[in-house]
Amino acid sequence: MSDPVPLLELRHVVKRYGAVTALADGNLACGRGSIHAVLGENGAGKSTLIKVISGVVQPDEGEMLLDGTPVRFSNPLDAQARGIVCVFQELSLIPDLSVADNIGLVSPPRRFGLIDDRAQRRRAEQLLARVGVEGIDPRARVRDLPLSRRQMVEIAKALGRDPKLLILDEATSALTSEDVGRLSDLLLRLRREGMCILYISHRMHEIRALADTCSVFTNGRHVASFETRAHGEDEIVRMMIGREVSQVFPPRPAAPATPLAPVLSTHDLGWEDRLRGISLAVAPGEILGLGGLDGQGQREFLLALFGGLGGCTGEIRVDGKPVTPGSPLAAKAAPLGIALIPEDRKTEGLMLAMSVADNLTAATLSRWRRGPLLDRARERSAVGDIIRRMQIKAVPSLPVATLSGGNQQKVVIGKWLLDEPRILLLCDPTRGIDVGTKQEIYRLLRELADGGCAILLYSTDYHELIGLCERVAIFYGGRVVRTLEGDGITEEAIIASALDIHPTTQPAA
């Protein structure tokens, strides 16, 4: 499997941003016809490593060899010209252009010097078919596609450049499990055809299934490279975080003897054609999971509860009284007390250019008011408290954009904890976040529930639903097709219900 001269080799690569050393000792060697996984917590230097390889940033020290000859890329175009193509975690699609335009963005088929639309569309169709998503219309605008479809387009676009080295940076984080299956087949096929694939993911079972070799990074340093099967999952996780993971999920408390009255319930809730008669209830101290394939109405359901959707039908009740939250402002105020941790932390969760402190107090400004002015001292002490409680690694006065993904997500959650919500809605809160931070978030959710908060958790990671939730409502086509409880929450049951292949007790449409 290992050739004498690897396709790509990095030796002692160093990258500093000002005083911060993001990559202290980057070593890597990967050969043709192999899938190489790069593992590490957020902030371990994986992203910087990828950026160096794909020409986004230039290394300060060390050398990079392609086919045994030293190379240096001054921009992504340089790297692409040498056959290195990256599928970025932050999508590199242009929202206002069509799918076909995006796939052919840099080197479209041309006739008489002009872009040949017809040929371009045919090529897009071929590439989409190759990735296994023939259903996407190449004429559709990327803006109009859901996130999971965009990610598949992104992969098709990368393949269109005939890469020798394909880098997938958290490329599966937004995919449905069905797409992950398609992608796995595709990657194994590409490997047989001789492509070298660099695979970055937090999903251990995908890595176990796909990768030939693993390289682990911690604190910007390369720790070890080994054949995937040489070490067990626990060992690999230990290498990544340098400490024992005793228990991934906190223990569930015993169910109360008499069930508590629900604090939030919906009755036949509908919106456009995305929500069709959802009736669910959640009690104080309960974590209710929302599961199913991606894009089956879970996001819309949470948005509807938080006042983000206009024109809902049916009823939402808080404490048994019908309410119609008309905006997030109304939803968060007493007597509702609802908070939503949104799907996209960079656009909906944070004001990236503002400081950590300003972000943390953004949802609760009226509390820190004295007369018409903000009381800076009280604001500061509240910020200090929440940073300690959440163990956020950050300087309060720096822009929140400078934090790692995991710490950014902690800021989003911390912002709403300051508001002491009675009902907490979370939309896939651990997407693209490292193992350590995930566990902290799990512990925090359990603490909040124990404190009497009612929690609705939508997650694309089945293990989270299994490990955290008392009940899981499976969405399919805007309906709840099945509710799993207690020991009935198994991976098989979730997957089966998500595909709607079990006979349901709900009346069919």
Partner: protein, 327 residues
């Protein structure tokens, strides 16, 4: 084109199509109320006024598509006007040279903007505000007093009609057909949209960002100088007027927005801006034939502009997902 192609086209071009319908209605009304009836003369006059603003609106559209703006388009037109008034007195080759020199001056001015915005990394709004003053300053030096010496035959040929079709309209159509339609399908044209829609994503995809942006400003300069050239031929004189430069710039921005180009970049095109410019010009003419007092004209013009821009906001009202309003 099959049915689904047409539906997709209509959905992606809703605002320009609507603007086109509004313009058609306004222009038919204007022609119907026109006391002297529809003659080639009325069409030529309407075309000359409309095409002038339309070209400047086209010039403005390119930088706006990249997510920038060019506050100097009016000043470049005035500069071209003043320059042309000193170069278009002769005949034959000297005329051709004069036209070429005027357009080259526009390209140079646009190039100056491109250097400031693309390589100087200055914010377009402030960089072009500054260069607009520079261009106006040069116009003043070129032509301290109004006037000019222009070849009469050339001027009447280009501002008259060919078989009843206004010549200026033909020039505008030539710009759209021979420049814009092919340009959209070049890599640079695609890059203009990509940069305006998502600059970081375009960079990560290896799009040549600087080249596309710079081209947008240079071509903007050329189109603005073409407008200045027409202005010279229509007026047969030139004046270094800061008021006119500002007026043209602001009306061009209004025309761009009415035509459905997003000020955030990435969406829209020249055709919409041309329609927007025609709508703006027809407002004035309509008020005139309706015998409204000239005192009322600016007020009406403002109200109608506001109404037109509100049309573009209608899709927002239909947004059932409230988060969509912020995209």
């Amino acid at each position: 084109m099959n049915g689904s192609d047409i539906r997709l086209f209509a959905r992606h071009n809703a605002i320009p199509l609507l603007a086109g319908a509004v313009f058609a209605a306004m222009f038919v009304l204007y022609l119907a109320l026109q006391p002297r009836g529809v003659t080639v003369g009325t069409l030529v006059t309407a075309s000359n006024k409309g095409v002038l603003l339309a070209l400047i609106a086209c010039a403005q559209t390119l930088p706006v598509l990249t997510g920038g703006i060019d506050l100097s388009v009016g000043a470049i037109a005035v500069l071209a006007n003043c320059l042309a008034s000193t170069l278009l007195g002769g005949s034959g080759l000297s005329l051709v040279g004069g036209v070429a020199a005027t357009l080259a001056a526009g390209a140079l001015a646009g190039g100056f903007n491109a250097v400031a915005v693309v390589w100087g990394r200055l914010q377009p709004i402030i960089a072009t505000l500054a260069t607009s003053s520079i261009f106006y300053g040069i116009s003043l030096l070129l032509r301290p007093d109004p006037g000019g010496d222009i070849n009469d035959d050339f001027a009447s040929a280009l501002t008259g009609d060919i078989h009843g079709i206004p010549t200026t309209l033909i020039i505008l159509l030539a710009v759209l057909l021979l420049f814009w339609l092919p340009f959209r399908r070049t890599l640079i044209g695609r890059g203009v949209y990509a940069v305006g829609s998502a600059e970081a994503a375009a960079y990560m995809s290896g799009v040549r960002i600087a080249r596309s942006k710079a081209c947008a400003y240079v071509l903007s300069g050329v189109l603005a100088s073409l407008a200045g050239l027409l202005l010279t031929l229509i007026a047969e004189s030139a004046q270094a007027s800061a008021i006119q430069a500002g007026d043209l710039t602001l009306n061009a921005i209004a025309a761009v927005v009415i035509g459905g180009t997003s000020l955030f970049g990435g969406i829209g095109g020249l055709v919409g801006s041309v329609i927007g410019a025609f709508i703006l010009r027809t407002i004035g003419d309509l008020l005139f034939v309706l015998a409204a007092s000239p005192l009322w004209q600016p007020l009406f013009q403002g109200l109608i502009l506001l109404a037109a821009v509100s049309l573009g906001a209608i899709p927002l009202l239909r947004n059932r997902n409230r988060l969509e309003s912020f995209r």
